[in-house]
């Protein structure tokens, strides 16, 4: 019978303070079981890969025996289908394990921040569409719906993957985090902060939009973003000079995350491409769409032991960064934005 090694979380960064106790009470007790499941699933995955390879090769061989020379197109399509099944079977097995493992570990990790997590769920398209900053897409997928109160502000976070499916294939249009935040300043209209795409595209975008373009005083802000609103006065009420400074400070902060010499931070969280950050004030809330190159909130994988704890550190760091958004934008203070 496999005995679990004694596992303790060593706090290394300031934002990890207190997590060692939380880890001991909430995460460590289930780690042994999760690791046993991982090993069993890994063995199953290897078996599936072998079977898929053998099955795929056999299938292609039989297809080559069946057909006549003038049936090459049909043979090609059939061969493609066999390869697709052979490849997708192990991928499906891998994906199912990741979903199951996240369901076990992630809620216990995020509860450290008094947040709840539903890994298989995400913020609905119906909730986000009115904000007006979702790129055009016909495929909406998401996961890791985290919600609660962080730094005194009601928050919902989801990882989103939006794509355009056409006849020629699937084109990703957005991969990243959608962060929905409570705003303490009352407002009634809609104000969009979109990324600056150059004079021509901005002009075309302004013509196509039903909102008025808002020209703000800060030239650095104007270089990074284009603002549209239903109300010129309300847009300036929300985007005070102080808030514009804070949004730019956030952009700079996130860019510097990638330059940190610690490999962990470079590897894990520099993917926030903040020049492409977009924001929308709608219905009393602020939505931030932050593109990311990597998958977020992944507390482990099929091929790495859960006892490594590196992935858990990554999740803590990601949530710490989102907390920094609230801190930098001062959304937790009642002075307003």
């Amino acid at each position: 019978m496999m005995t679990s090694p004694a596992v303790a979380f060593i706090e290394q960064a300031e934002y990890e303070k207190g997590f060692a106790d939380h880890f001991a009470s909430h995460v460590a007790p289930i780690l042994a079981e999760v690791e046993r499941e991982r090993i069993a699933r890994l063995k199953h995955f290897v078996l599936v890969c072998v079977l898929a390879l053998l099955g795929g090769a056999s299938g292609l061989y039989f297809i080559s025996l069946l057909g006549r020379p003038d049936d090459s197109e049909f043979q090609g399509k059939l061969g493609g289908a066999v390869i697709a099944v052979a490849v997708s079977w192990p991928v499906l097995v891998h994906h199912r394990y990741i979903t199951h493992m996240k369901g076990r570990l992630l809620p216990n990790v995020v509860s450290f921040f008094n947040l709840a997590c539903r890994p298989g769920d995400c913020i609905s398209k119906l909730q986000l569409a009115p904000f007006g900053i979702l790129p055009q897409h016909n495929l909406y997928m998401g996961e890791d719906h985290i919600s609660g109160v962080l730094e005194g502000v009601r928050i919902e976070i989801s990882e989103l993957r939006l794509s355009m499916r056409t006849r020629s294939g699937k084109t990703p249009v957005f991969n990243g985090a959608a962060v929905l935040l409570e705003v303490k300043k009352p407002f009634y209209g809609q104000t969009l902060v979109k990324r600056d795409r150059g004079a021509v595209l901005n002009w075309l975008s302004a013509r196509a939009s039903s909102l008025d373009r808002v020209a703000l005083e800060d030239p650095r802000f104007e270089e990074l973003f284009e603002v549209y609103s239903t109300d010129q006065v309300e847009a300036r009420f929300l985007l005070t000079t102080a808030f514009m400074e804070r949004l730019m400070a956030l952009a700079n902060l996130m860019q510097n995350w990638g330059n940190d010499p610690a490999k962990l931070e470079q590897d894990a969280f520099w993917a926030f491409r903040v020049r492409r950050l977009q924001a929308s004030f709608t219905g009393g809330k602020l939505l931030l769409m932050i593109p990311c190159r990597k998958n977020l909130f992944e507390p482990g994988g099929l091929f790495r032991s859960v006892y490594r704890l590196n992935e858990i550190r990554c999740v803590l760091y990601q949530l710490h960064l989102i907390g920094q958004i609230i801190e930098v934008l001062k959304l937790d203070e009642d002075i307003g934005i």
Binding site: A215, E217, V233
Partner: protein, 200 residues
């Protein structure tokens, strides 16, 4: 017929410049309207605040009276379109704002007034209205900058005088707001025997 092309282009450019000046002038008027909406809200709030304050601030009758009179004068200027009248109106509103700031500073010295729930609510609402006024002024300044650029860059002045449009003044902070604040002035008043503070 090619000789017509250049005069036509000049005419077209002239018309576009003229139309730009008119549309920017209209945006300035729109922004003035936006400020007036917020100023009306402030004017509606002031009597409520003064009514609550009168119960507690009997010694400040002079200030309360001056605020009431200034509010009446400033309210008459709402809706001005002429640039000279707008400048005068903005000055009066700035003076009214300064008097209200002095009023709130003095109110700090009246503990009963400070803790009155209706006064607290009125003050929160007033602060929100002031933030909206600041936002409306920023919109006004942006619109004025755009209009003044179109007029002052040659040959904009020619089209502007033809259209009867003149430049508008920017909203500027009053001189008092730009003066450096000395903490010693405020700290000195804490040693007074009188329960209320005088703030100049």
């Amino acid at each position: 017929m090619e000789w017509l092309l250049i005069p036509l282009l000049v005419l077209a450019a002239g018309y576009i410049w003229y139309a730009t000046i008119i549309s920017r002038r209209n945006q300035v008027l729109e922004s003035l309207g936006g400020i007036d909406v917020q100023l009306n809200k402030r004017h509606d709030l002031i009597p409520n605040i003064l009514t609550i304050a009168r119960r507690f601030m009997e010694h400040e009758r002079e200030l309360l009276q001056s605020i009431t009179e200034l509010r009446g004068k400033a309210q008459a200027g709402i809706g001005s379109k002429d640039s000279a009248a707008v400048e005068e109106h903005l000055k009066m509103e700035t003076e009214l704002q300064a008097r209200m700031e002095r009023f709130f500073a003095l109110a700090e010295g009246y503990p009963q007034l400070k803790s009155d729930s209706t006064m607290l609510q009125a003050q929160r609402t007033y602060n929100e209205v002031e933030e909206h006024i600041a936002a409306a002024r920023r919109f006004y300044n942006a619109a004025v900058a755009s209009l003044n650029n179109a007029i002052q860059i040659f040959p904009g002045g020619l089209f502007a005088s033809f259209a009867g449009v003149s430049t508008y003044p920017f909203y500027e902070a009053p001189a008092g707001a730009k003066a450096p604040i000395s903490a010693a002035d405020y700290l000195q008043t804490q040693h007074d025997d009188e329960p209320r503070r005088s703030v100049h």
